[in-house]
Amino acid sequence: MIGAISALDFKSIGGSGGVAEGGVAGAGGASPTASFASVLSDMASRTVDTLENAEQVSVKALQGDVDAREVADAVMTAEQTLQAAVAIRDKIISAYMEISRMAI
């Protein structure tokens, strides 16, 4: 789970099947040579999925009887993946800025 906290630990994110599941690095089956781009798009789609799921569960909860724990879990998962994605996005942007400032 420590690996999951580090937003830059792409291997564990790509391999353990999700930051929110707190998987130990390498528990999944991703190859260590997964490309940066594929890991990023993986992250993005996972974020969207958890967000959609959270929204669906919440709508169901407002309309009727859903176990409160289910809603809490879905929303927390969504928030976790979103937080990681945002952190990555920020890092990428600052890295790009740094590169663009390098004297040629």
Partner: protein, 126 residues
């Protein structure tokens, strides 16, 4: 099915819960008023079904044709069904149960809204 806006749905439920709370308040305050019949709002599922149609039309069979300002139909129980000679049909325990339900749904509602608001703010930062 067209996508439901979460915030709109939550706002609608919040209004409905407010109306229900004031109905419960009226019942509790009038628990000893002769001839008073218990009032309740229509179920939220019915409100959702009616959302397409105009909310302000009253429905037949609702005593006094009362709708609240927000358009939810209220129904009043026939007070002659009560067991008391004063023809009051309010049962305090039932009203307290309703109040508990209202509270639980309201807490869930505000928690969901808060969480999604937080997520939107998070993704918009920087």
């Amino acid at each position: 099915m067209e996508p439901v806006n979460l915030f709109q749905l939550a706002a609608q439920q919040s209004r409905w819960l407010g109306v229900r709370q004031s109905a419960v308040a009226g019942n509790v305050a009038n628990a000893n008023t002769p001839g008073y019949g218990t009032v309740d709002v229509e179920p939220f599922e019915k409100v959702l079904d009616n959302t397409a149609a105009s909310l302000k039309t009253t429905q037949a069979g609702h005593l006094r044709g009362r709708t609240t300002q927000s358009g939810f139909a209220l129904s009043q129980e026939d007070s002659s069904k009560s067991l008391l000679p004063s023809e009051n049909s309010v049962v305090l325990e039932t009203e307290m149960l309703k109040a508990g339900e209202i509270r639980r749904q309201f807490e869930l509602n505000t928690a969901i809204v808060k969480a999604f608001h937080r997520m939107i703010m998070l993704s918009s930062k920087g």
